[in-house]
Protein backbone atom coordinates (compact mmCIF):
# COMPACT_ATOMS: atom_id res chain seq x y z
CA UNK A 1 0.00 0.00 0.00
CA UNK A 2 1.24 3.48 -0.85
CA UNK A 3 2.28 5.76 1.95
CA UNK A 4 1.93 9.52 2.01
CA UNK A 5 4.32 12.19 3.24
CA UNK A 6 2.76 15.01 5.29
CA UNK A 7 3.44 17.41 2.42
CA UNK A 8 0.97 15.39 0.32
CA UNK A 9 -1.77 15.72 2.96
CA UNK A 10 -4.97 17.30 1.68
CA UNK A 11 -8.68 17.07 2.45
CA UNK A 12 -10.14 13.75 1.28
CA UNK A 13 -6.90 11.74 1.47
CA UNK A 14 -7.53 8.32 3.11
CA UNK A 15 -5.04 7.13 5.72
CA UNK A 16 -4.63 4.00 7.79
CA UNK A 17 -4.20 4.87 11.48
CA UNK A 18 -3.96 2.11 14.08
CA UNK A 19 -5.57 -0.28 11.60
CA UNK A 20 -8.63 1.87 10.90
CA UNK A 21 -9.32 3.84 7.70
CA UNK A 22 -9.60 7.62 8.10
CA UNK A 23 -10.27 10.48 5.69
CA UNK A 24 -8.57 13.86 6.17
CA UNK A 25 -11.05 16.68 6.77
CA UNK A 26 -8.60 19.51 7.50
CA UNK A 27 -4.82 19.83 7.42
CA UNK A 28 -2.90 22.75 8.96
CA UNK A 29 0.88 23.25 8.70
CA UNK A 30 2.32 24.80 11.86
CA UNK A 31 5.96 25.56 12.60
CA UNK A 32 6.97 26.93 15.96
CA UNK A 33 9.89 29.32 15.74
CA UNK A 34 13.04 27.59 14.66
CA UNK A 35 11.64 24.26 15.78
CA UNK A 36 10.09 21.10 14.45
CA UNK A 37 7.24 21.63 11.98
CA UNK A 38 3.95 19.80 12.55
CA UNK A 39 0.79 19.07 10.60
CA UNK A 40 -2.31 19.37 12.75
CA UNK A 41 -4.88 17.20 11.05
CA UNK A 42 -8.59 16.58 11.59
CA UNK A 43 -9.68 13.12 10.38
CA UNK A 44 -12.90 11.13 10.17
CA UNK A 45 -12.87 7.45 11.06
CA UNK A 46 -14.59 5.83 8.07
CA UNK A 47 -15.86 2.93 10.16
CA UNK A 48 -17.33 4.81 13.12
CA UNK A 49 -17.75 8.32 11.69
CA UNK A 50 -15.92 9.72 14.72
CA UNK A 51 -13.78 12.81 14.10
CA UNK A 52 -10.34 12.90 15.72
CA UNK A 53 -7.40 15.31 15.86
CA UNK A 54 -3.94 14.03 15.17
CA UNK A 55 -0.67 15.95 15.12
CA UNK A 56 2.03 14.63 12.79
CA UNK A 57 5.66 15.69 12.63
CA UNK A 58 6.11 17.25 9.20
CA UNK A 59 8.05 14.91 6.97
CA UNK A 60 6.50 11.83 8.57
CA UNK A 61 5.06 9.21 6.22
CA UNK A 62 1.72 7.58 6.91
CA UNK A 63 0.32 4.45 5.28
CA UNK A 64 -2.63 5.05 2.98
CA UNK A 65 -5.90 3.26 3.70
CA UNK A 66 -6.76 0.56 1.19
CA UNK A 67 -10.14 2.05 0.40
CA UNK A 68 -11.77 2.73 -2.95
CA UNK A 69 -14.64 5.07 -3.74
CA UNK A 70 -16.72 3.51 -6.51
CA UNK A 71 -19.90 4.79 -8.16
CA UNK A 72 -22.55 2.08 -7.97
CA UNK A 73 -26.24 1.82 -8.74
CA UNK A 74 -28.56 1.22 -5.80
CA UNK A 75 -30.83 -1.77 -6.64
CA UNK A 76 -33.08 -2.63 -3.67
CA UNK A 77 -33.08 -3.53 0.00
CA UNK A 78 -34.45 -6.65 1.63
CA UNK A 79 -34.92 -4.98 5.00
CA UNK A 80 -31.59 -6.29 6.20
CA UNK A 81 -29.13 -5.67 3.37
CA UNK A 82 -28.94 -2.86 0.81
CA UNK A 83 -27.83 -4.09 -2.60
CA UNK A 84 -25.65 -2.12 -5.03
CA UNK A 85 -24.24 -2.91 -8.48
CA UNK A 86 -21.03 -1.78 -10.10
CA UNK A 87 -22.29 -0.77 -13.58
CA UNK A 88 -19.25 -1.88 -15.62
CA UNK A 89 -18.67 -5.34 -14.14
CA UNK A 90 -22.30 -5.90 -13.00
CA UNK A 91 -20.74 -7.11 -9.75
CA UNK A 92 -23.12 -6.76 -6.81
CA UNK A 93 -22.30 -5.68 -3.28
CA UNK A 94 -24.46 -5.95 -0.16
CA UNK A 95 -24.19 -3.37 2.61
CA UNK A 96 -25.68 -3.60 6.09
CA UNK A 97 -28.14 -1.01 7.41
CA UNK A 98 -25.43 0.44 9.62
CA UNK A 99 -23.06 0.81 6.66
CA UNK A 100 -25.65 2.61 4.55
CA UNK A 101 -26.48 4.84 7.52
CA UNK A 102 -28.17 8.16 6.78
CA UNK A 103 -27.88 7.65 3.03
CA UNK A 104 -30.76 5.10 3.23
CA UNK A 105 -33.39 7.79 3.77
CA UNK A 106 -32.78 9.26 0.27
CA UNK A 107 -32.75 6.01 -1.73
CA UNK A 108 -35.71 4.53 -3.61
CA UNK A 109 -33.84 2.65 -6.37
CA UNK A 110 -31.70 3.37 -9.49
CA UNK A 111 -29.70 6.19 -7.83
CA UNK A 112 -25.96 6.30 -8.43
CA UNK A 113 -24.25 6.28 -5.02
CA UNK A 114 -20.62 6.46 -4.00
CA UNK A 115 -19.77 3.22 -2.19
CA UNK A 116 -16.51 3.16 -0.20
CA UNK A 117 -14.90 -0.27 -0.19
CA UNK A 118 -12.29 -1.51 2.31
CA UNK A 119 -10.71 -4.80 1.24
CA UNK A 120 -13.64 -5.33 -1.12
CA UNK A 121 -16.30 -4.82 1.58
CA UNK A 122 -18.64 -1.79 1.67
CA UNK A 123 -17.58 0.58 4.44
CA UNK A 124 -19.88 3.48 3.75
CA UNK A 125 -22.40 4.79 1.26
CA UNK A 126 -22.85 8.38 0.13
CA UNK A 127 -26.15 9.30 -1.50
CA UNK A 128 -26.11 11.50 -4.64
CA UNK A 129 -25.80 15.19 -3.70
CA UNK A 130 -29.31 15.83 -5.08
CA UNK A 131 -32.33 13.53 -5.19
CA UNK A 132 -35.89 14.08 -6.43
CA UNK A 133 -38.60 12.63 -4.19
CA UNK A 134 -42.39 12.89 -3.93
CA UNK A 135 -44.19 14.12 -0.81
CA UNK A 136 -46.49 11.45 0.68
CA UNK A 137 -47.74 13.54 3.58
CA UNK A 138 -47.78 17.21 4.54
CA UNK A 139 -50.31 19.76 5.82
CA UNK A 140 -52.34 21.50 3.08
CA UNK A 141 -50.44 24.26 1.31
CA UNK A 142 -50.99 27.93 2.11
CA UNK A 143 -51.65 29.32 -1.35
CA UNK A 144 -49.58 32.30 -2.38
CA UNK A 145 -47.48 32.29 0.77
CA UNK A 146 -44.04 32.60 -0.76
CA UNK A 147 -42.88 35.50 1.37
CA UNK A 148 -43.19 34.73 5.07
CA UNK A 149 -40.35 32.24 5.11
CA UNK A 150 -42.27 29.83 7.34
CA UNK A 151 -41.74 26.08 7.05
CA UNK A 152 -43.61 22.86 7.83
CA UNK A 153 -42.50 19.21 7.91
CA UNK A 154 -43.12 16.97 4.87
CA UNK A 155 -42.73 13.19 4.68
CA UNK A 156 -41.17 11.94 1.45
CA UNK A 157 -41.80 8.63 -0.34
CA UNK A 158 -38.65 7.13 1.22
CA UNK A 159 -39.82 8.05 4.73
CA UNK A 160 -37.39 10.95 5.14
CA UNK A 161 -38.83 14.08 6.73
CA UNK A 162 -37.67 17.50 5.51
CA UNK A 163 -38.73 21.07 6.20
CA UNK A 164 -40.49 22.70 3.23
CA UNK A 165 -42.01 26.15 2.59
CA UNK A 166 -45.71 26.59 3.52
CA UNK A 167 -46.97 26.77 -0.10
CA UNK A 168 -45.81 23.22 -0.96
CA UNK A 169 -48.61 20.64 -1.54
CA UNK A 170 -48.82 16.93 -0.83
CA UNK A 171 -47.97 14.88 -3.96
CA UNK A 172 -45.44 17.38 -5.30
CA UNK A 173 -41.94 16.21 -6.27
CA UNK A 174 -39.09 18.04 -4.55
CA UNK A 175 -35.39 18.42 -5.21
CA UNK A 176 -33.43 17.79 -1.98
CA UNK A 177 -29.77 18.45 -1.14
CA UNK A 178 -28.80 15.25 0.72
CA UNK A 179 -25.68 16.84 2.25
CA UNK A 180 -27.75 19.30 4.27
CA UNK A 181 -31.12 17.45 4.13
CA UNK A 182 -32.63 20.69 2.84
CA UNK A 183 -35.36 21.45 0.32
CA UNK A 184 -33.94 23.07 -2.83
CA UNK A 185 -36.91 23.51 -5.20
CA UNK A 186 -40.05 21.99 -6.68
CA UNK A 187 -39.63 19.74 -9.67
CA UNK A 188 -42.12 20.44 -12.48
CA UNK A 189 -43.47 17.14 -13.81
Amino acid sequence: MASYNTNEFRAGLKLNLDGDPYAIIENEFVKPGKGQAFNRVKLRNLKTGRVVDRTFKSGESVEGADVLDIDMQYLYNDGDQWHFMEPNSYEQYAASKATVGDAAQWLKGQETCCVTLLDGEPLGVTAPNFVELQITQTDPGVRGDTATGGTKPATLETGAIVKVPLFIEQGEVLRIDTRTAEYVSRVKE
Binding site: N7, L17, E28, F29, V30, K31, P32, G33, K34, G35, Q36, A37, F38, R40, V52, D53, R54, T55, F56, K57, S58, G59, E60, V62
Partner: protein, 320 residues
Protein backbone atom coordinates in the same frame (compact mmCIF):
# COMPACT_ATOMS: atom_id res chain seq x y z
CA UNK B 1 0.34 23.47 -27.38
CA UNK B 2 -0.37 24.12 -23.75
CA UNK B 3 -3.81 25.41 -22.99
CA UNK B 4 -3.77 29.07 -22.12
CA UNK B 5 -4.69 29.77 -18.51
CA UNK B 6 -8.10 31.26 -17.73
CA UNK B 7 -8.28 34.91 -18.74
CA UNK B 8 -8.04 36.21 -15.16
CA UNK B 9 -5.21 33.91 -13.99
CA UNK B 10 -2.48 36.46 -14.67
CA UNK B 11 -3.95 38.90 -12.17
CA UNK B 12 -2.28 39.74 -8.86
CA UNK B 13 -3.98 38.29 -5.80
CA UNK B 14 -3.20 41.25 -3.59
CA UNK B 15 -5.54 44.23 -3.25
CA UNK B 16 -4.61 47.81 -4.10
CA UNK B 17 -4.75 48.53 -0.35
CA UNK B 18 -2.37 45.62 0.32
CA UNK B 19 0.08 46.81 -2.30
CA UNK B 20 0.14 50.34 -0.87
CA UNK B 21 0.32 49.13 2.75
CA UNK B 22 3.46 47.12 1.96
CA UNK B 23 5.18 50.06 0.24
CA UNK B 24 4.29 52.31 3.17
CA UNK B 25 5.52 49.74 5.71
CA UNK B 26 8.88 49.34 3.93
CA UNK B 27 9.29 53.13 3.82
CA UNK B 28 8.49 53.43 7.54
CA UNK B 29 11.02 50.71 8.39
CA UNK B 30 13.75 52.47 6.40
CA UNK B 31 12.89 55.80 8.06
CA UNK B 32 13.09 54.22 11.53
CA UNK B 33 16.60 52.87 10.94
CA UNK B 34 17.87 55.95 9.09
CA UNK B 35 16.89 58.08 12.11
CA UNK B 36 18.92 55.74 14.33
CA UNK B 37 21.95 55.62 12.08
CA UNK B 38 21.59 51.91 11.33
CA UNK B 39 22.98 51.26 7.85
CA UNK B 40 20.98 49.38 5.21
CA UNK B 41 23.01 46.59 3.56
CA UNK B 42 22.47 44.02 0.83
CA UNK B 43 24.02 40.55 0.93
CA UNK B 44 23.86 37.82 -1.75
CA UNK B 45 20.66 35.86 -2.17
CA UNK B 46 22.55 33.00 -3.85
CA UNK B 47 25.22 31.45 -1.63
CA UNK B 48 27.46 28.38 -1.83
CA UNK B 49 26.88 27.60 1.85
CA UNK B 50 23.65 27.39 3.75
CA UNK B 51 22.32 26.82 7.26
CA UNK B 52 22.74 23.55 9.17
CA UNK B 53 19.53 24.20 11.16
CA UNK B 54 17.86 20.77 11.51
CA UNK B 55 14.40 22.21 10.85
CA UNK B 56 15.13 24.55 7.97
CA UNK B 57 15.46 23.22 4.43
CA UNK B 58 17.13 25.37 1.79
CA UNK B 59 16.09 25.72 -1.83
CA UNK B 60 19.02 24.81 -4.08
CA UNK B 61 19.76 26.33 -7.47
CA UNK B 62 22.17 25.34 -10.25
CA UNK B 63 25.16 27.56 -10.71
CA UNK B 64 27.52 26.47 -13.44
CA UNK B 65 29.54 23.51 -12.02
CA UNK B 66 28.19 24.00 -8.50
CA UNK B 67 24.99 23.74 -6.57
CA UNK B 68 24.18 26.88 -4.64
CA UNK B 69 21.41 27.82 -2.23
CA UNK B 70 18.92 30.65 -1.86
CA UNK B 71 19.53 32.17 1.56
CA UNK B 72 17.10 31.15 4.31
CA UNK B 73 18.09 34.31 6.21
CA UNK B 74 20.92 36.81 5.66
CA UNK B 75 22.43 36.00 9.08
CA UNK B 76 25.86 34.56 8.17
CA UNK B 77 26.61 37.22 5.56
CA UNK B 78 25.51 40.05 7.83
CA UNK B 79 27.67 38.74 10.66
CA UNK B 80 30.67 38.69 8.32
CA UNK B 81 29.98 42.39 7.70
CA UNK B 82 29.68 42.95 11.46
CA UNK B 83 33.00 41.22 12.11
CA UNK B 84 34.75 43.57 9.69
CA UNK B 85 32.93 46.91 9.94
CA UNK B 86 31.74 46.61 13.55
CA UNK B 87 28.73 48.87 13.03
CA UNK B 88 24.94 48.68 13.21
CA UNK B 89 23.33 47.26 10.06
CA UNK B 90 19.91 46.15 8.80
CA UNK B 91 18.58 44.37 5.75
CA UNK B 92 15.08 44.08 4.27
CA UNK B 93 15.04 41.16 1.84
CA UNK B 94 13.29 38.10 0.46
CA UNK B 95 14.36 34.78 2.03
CA UNK B 96 13.52 31.24 0.94
CA UNK B 97 12.64 28.00 2.71
CA UNK B 98 11.61 24.75 1.06
CA UNK B 99 8.44 22.90 2.07
CA UNK B 100 7.04 25.59 4.35
CA UNK B 101 3.47 26.19 3.21
CA UNK B 102 0.64 27.11 5.54
CA UNK B 103 -1.53 29.89 6.89
CA UNK B 104 1.56 31.73 8.16
CA UNK B 105 4.21 30.14 5.93
CA UNK B 106 5.20 30.65 2.33
CA UNK B 107 8.41 29.32 0.72
CA UNK B 108 9.42 32.89 -0.23
CA UNK B 109 8.87 35.65 2.31
CA UNK B 110 10.18 39.05 3.39
CA UNK B 111 12.48 39.33 6.37
CA UNK B 112 13.75 42.36 8.25
CA UNK B 113 16.98 41.54 10.05
CA UNK B 114 19.15 43.90 12.09
CA UNK B 115 22.17 43.93 14.38
CA UNK B 116 23.18 46.31 17.13
CA UNK B 117 26.85 46.39 18.11
CA UNK B 118 27.56 46.66 21.84
CA UNK B 119 23.91 46.03 22.72
CA UNK B 120 22.49 43.33 24.96
CA UNK B 121 19.51 41.27 23.80
CA UNK B 122 17.48 42.97 26.54
CA UNK B 123 18.27 46.37 24.97
CA UNK B 124 17.22 44.97 21.60
CA UNK B 125 13.86 43.71 22.99
CA UNK B 126 13.03 47.34 23.76
CA UNK B 127 14.01 48.53 20.31
CA UNK B 128 11.85 45.83 18.68
CA UNK B 129 8.98 46.99 20.89
CA UNK B 130 9.52 50.61 19.79
CA UNK B 131 9.71 49.65 16.12
CA UNK B 132 6.48 47.63 16.18
CA UNK B 133 4.69 50.31 18.20
CA UNK B 134 5.71 52.95 15.62
CA UNK B 135 4.73 50.74 12.65
CA UNK B 136 1.32 49.90 14.11
CA UNK B 137 0.54 53.44 15.28
CA UNK B 138 -3.00 54.48 14.25
CA UNK B 139 -3.55 50.95 12.87
CA UNK B 140 -3.81 48.59 15.84
CA UNK B 141 -4.38 49.69 19.45
CA UNK B 142 -1.84 47.70 21.40
CA UNK B 143 -2.18 47.01 25.09
CA UNK B 144 0.86 47.22 27.39
CA UNK B 145 3.68 44.96 26.13
CA UNK B 146 4.50 42.02 28.39
CA UNK B 147 7.89 40.35 28.77
CA UNK B 148 8.14 36.81 30.18
CA UNK B 149 10.98 34.42 30.74
CA UNK B 150 10.48 31.10 28.95
CA UNK B 151 10.11 29.47 32.35
CA UNK B 152 7.44 31.91 33.57
CA UNK B 153 5.31 31.70 30.45
CA UNK B 154 5.16 27.90 30.75
CA UNK B 155 4.21 28.19 34.42
CA UNK B 156 1.55 30.85 33.72
CA UNK B 157 -0.04 29.32 30.62
CA UNK B 158 0.79 25.60 30.82
CA UNK B 159 0.85 25.11 34.57
CA UNK B 160 4.30 23.58 34.96
CA UNK B 161 7.98 24.52 35.13
CA UNK B 162 9.76 23.52 31.92
CA UNK B 163 13.10 23.22 33.75
CA UNK B 164 11.62 20.52 36.02
CA UNK B 165 9.10 18.97 33.63
CA UNK B 166 8.85 15.29 32.82
CA UNK B 167 7.42 13.65 29.69
CA UNK B 168 4.10 13.15 31.51
CA UNK B 169 3.73 16.90 32.16
CA UNK B 170 4.12 17.54 28.47
CA UNK B 171 1.82 14.78 27.27
CA UNK B 172 -0.88 15.78 29.79
CA UNK B 173 -0.68 19.40 28.65
CA UNK B 174 -1.19 18.16 25.06
CA UNK B 175 -4.14 15.99 26.15
CA UNK B 176 -5.80 18.93 27.89
CA UNK B 177 -5.50 20.96 24.69
CA UNK B 178 -6.86 18.13 22.53
CA UNK B 179 -3.53 17.58 20.77
CA UNK B 180 -2.63 13.94 20.08
CA UNK B 181 0.81 13.46 18.55
CA UNK B 182 1.03 10.53 16.12
CA UNK B 183 4.47 9.47 17.39
CA UNK B 184 6.52 9.79 20.55
CA UNK B 185 7.96 13.29 20.86
CA UNK B 186 11.16 14.42 22.54
CA UNK B 187 10.89 16.95 25.37
CA UNK B 188 12.17 19.62 23.01
CA UNK B 189 9.51 18.81 20.40
CA UNK B 190 6.84 18.96 23.10
CA UNK B 191 8.13 22.35 24.23
CA UNK B 192 8.03 23.72 20.69
CA UNK B 193 4.56 22.35 20.03
CA UNK B 194 3.13 23.62 23.34
CA UNK B 195 4.63 27.09 22.98
CA UNK B 196 3.16 27.52 19.50
CA UNK B 197 -0.14 25.66 19.80
CA UNK B 198 -1.11 26.05 23.45
CA UNK B 199 0.67 29.02 25.05
CA UNK B 200 0.62 31.39 22.07
CA UNK B 201 -3.05 30.62 21.44
CA UNK B 202 -3.91 32.04 24.88
CA UNK B 203 -2.03 35.33 24.46
CA UNK B 204 -4.18 38.49 24.20
CA UNK B 205 -4.78 39.41 20.54
CA UNK B 206 -3.76 43.05 20.96
CA UNK B 207 -0.59 42.54 22.97
CA UNK B 208 3.08 42.23 22.12
CA UNK B 209 4.51 39.37 24.17
CA UNK B 210 8.25 38.82 24.42
CA UNK B 211 9.64 35.51 25.68
CA UNK B 212 13.33 35.22 26.59
CA UNK B 213 15.92 32.81 27.98
CA UNK B 214 15.27 29.59 26.08
CA UNK B 215 16.43 26.04 26.83
CA UNK B 216 20.04 25.47 25.72
CA UNK B 217 18.93 22.92 23.09
CA UNK B 218 17.03 25.72 21.36
CA UNK B 219 19.93 28.18 21.44
CA UNK B 220 20.54 28.12 17.66
CA UNK B 221 23.03 31.00 17.25
CA UNK B 222 22.46 32.56 20.67
CA UNK B 223 24.97 32.85 23.50
CA UNK B 224 24.41 30.74 26.62
CA UNK B 225 24.40 32.53 29.96
CA UNK B 226 26.14 31.32 33.11
CA UNK B 227 23.01 29.37 34.14
CA UNK B 228 23.12 27.46 30.85
CA UNK B 229 20.12 29.20 29.29
CA UNK B 230 20.10 30.55 25.75
CA UNK B 231 20.00 34.35 25.51
CA UNK B 232 17.37 34.18 22.82
CA UNK B 233 14.00 35.95 22.57
CA UNK B 234 10.89 35.66 20.50
CA UNK B 235 8.12 38.16 19.92
CA UNK B 236 4.45 37.30 19.48
CA UNK B 237 1.72 39.70 18.47
CA UNK B 238 -1.41 37.97 19.70
CA UNK B 239 -0.80 34.33 18.85
CA UNK B 240 1.42 35.03 15.84
CA UNK B 241 5.18 34.69 16.09
CA UNK B 242 6.74 37.79 14.58
CA UNK B 243 10.42 37.90 15.50
CA UNK B 244 13.34 35.92 16.84
CA UNK B 245 16.47 37.49 18.37
CA UNK B 246 19.78 36.52 19.94
CA UNK B 247 22.60 37.72 22.05
CA UNK B 248 24.90 36.64 19.28
CA UNK B 249 27.23 33.74 19.92
CA UNK B 250 30.75 35.05 19.23
CA UNK B 251 32.75 31.95 20.11
CA UNK B 252 33.88 30.28 16.86
CA UNK B 253 34.71 26.94 18.49
CA UNK B 254 31.31 26.66 20.13
CA UNK B 255 29.55 27.73 16.94
CA UNK B 256 31.35 25.03 14.93
CA UNK B 257 30.44 22.40 17.53
CA UNK B 258 26.77 23.43 17.30
CA UNK B 259 26.82 23.20 13.50
CA UNK B 260 28.30 19.71 13.77
CA UNK B 261 25.62 18.72 16.29
CA UNK B 262 22.98 20.12 13.89
CA UNK B 263 24.34 17.91 11.14
CA UNK B 264 24.13 14.85 13.38
CA UNK B 265 20.49 15.68 14.10
CA UNK B 266 19.85 16.14 10.38
CA UNK B 267 21.30 12.70 9.67
CA UNK B 268 19.28 11.11 12.45
CA UNK B 269 16.07 12.45 10.95
CA UNK B 270 17.05 11.25 7.47
CA UNK B 271 18.12 14.63 6.08
CA UNK B 272 21.31 15.37 4.20
CA UNK B 273 24.27 16.87 6.00
CA UNK B 274 25.03 20.49 5.14
CA UNK B 275 28.55 21.63 4.31
CA UNK B 276 29.53 24.05 7.09
CA UNK B 277 30.17 27.66 6.05
CA UNK B 278 33.88 27.99 6.90
CA UNK B 279 34.02 31.69 6.00
CA UNK B 280 31.37 32.38 8.63
CA UNK B 281 33.36 30.43 11.22
CA UNK B 282 36.52 32.29 10.17
CA UNK B 283 34.74 35.62 10.67
CA UNK B 284 33.83 34.59 14.24
CA UNK B 285 37.45 33.60 14.83
CA UNK B 286 38.62 37.01 13.60
CA UNK B 287 36.21 38.53 16.14
CA UNK B 288 32.50 39.24 16.01
CA UNK B 289 31.83 42.24 18.27
CA UNK B 290 29.50 41.82 21.26
CA UNK B 291 26.13 42.35 19.59
CA UNK B 292 22.46 41.49 19.52
CA UNK B 293 20.46 40.70 16.39
CA UNK B 294 16.88 39.97 15.44
CA UNK B 295 14.87 38.83 12.40
CA UNK B 296 11.25 39.83 11.86
CA UNK B 297 8.63 38.45 9.46
CA UNK B 298 7.37 41.44 7.48
CA UNK B 299 4.53 39.62 5.67
CA UNK B 300 3.01 38.54 8.99
CA UNK B 301 3.17 42.11 10.26
CA UNK B 302 1.36 43.19 7.10
CA UNK B 303 -1.27 40.46 7.64
CA UNK B 304 -1.95 41.88 11.11
CA UNK B 305 -2.09 45.48 9.87
CA UNK B 306 -4.56 44.56 7.12
CA UNK B 307 -6.52 42.03 9.19
CA UNK B 308 -5.78 39.28 6.66
CA UNK B 309 -5.82 35.65 7.84
CA UNK B 310 -3.59 33.95 5.26
CA UNK B 311 -0.08 34.97 4.24
CA UNK B 312 -0.78 34.26 0.55
CA UNK B 313 -3.33 37.07 0.53
CA UNK B 314 -0.66 39.72 1.22
CA UNK B 315 1.62 38.45 -1.58
CA UNK B 316 1.24 39.71 -5.14
CA UNK B 317 1.76 36.32 -6.80
CA UNK B 318 1.77 33.52 -4.21
CA UNK B 319 3.07 30.13 -5.31
CA UNK B 320 0.41 27.73 -6.65
Amino acid sequence: MNKLPKHSDWKPLVSQQGLEARAFLNAQIRKFFAARNVLEVETPIINFFTVTDPHIDSISVNKVKHVAFLHTSPEYAMKRLLADFKRDIYQLCKVFRAAEVGKYHHPEFTMLEWYRVGWSYQDLIHEVDELIASLLQNKINLSQTKIFTYQDIFIDYCGFDPWQAKQLDYSHACDRAGISPSTKLSNQEYQELLLDQVIAQQLPKDRLTFIYDYPAQQAALAKLNSAGMAERFELYLGNIELANGFQELTNAQEQLARFEADNQMRQKSGKEKVVIDKKFIAALKAGLPYSAGVALGVDRLLMLILGIAEIRDVLVFPHG
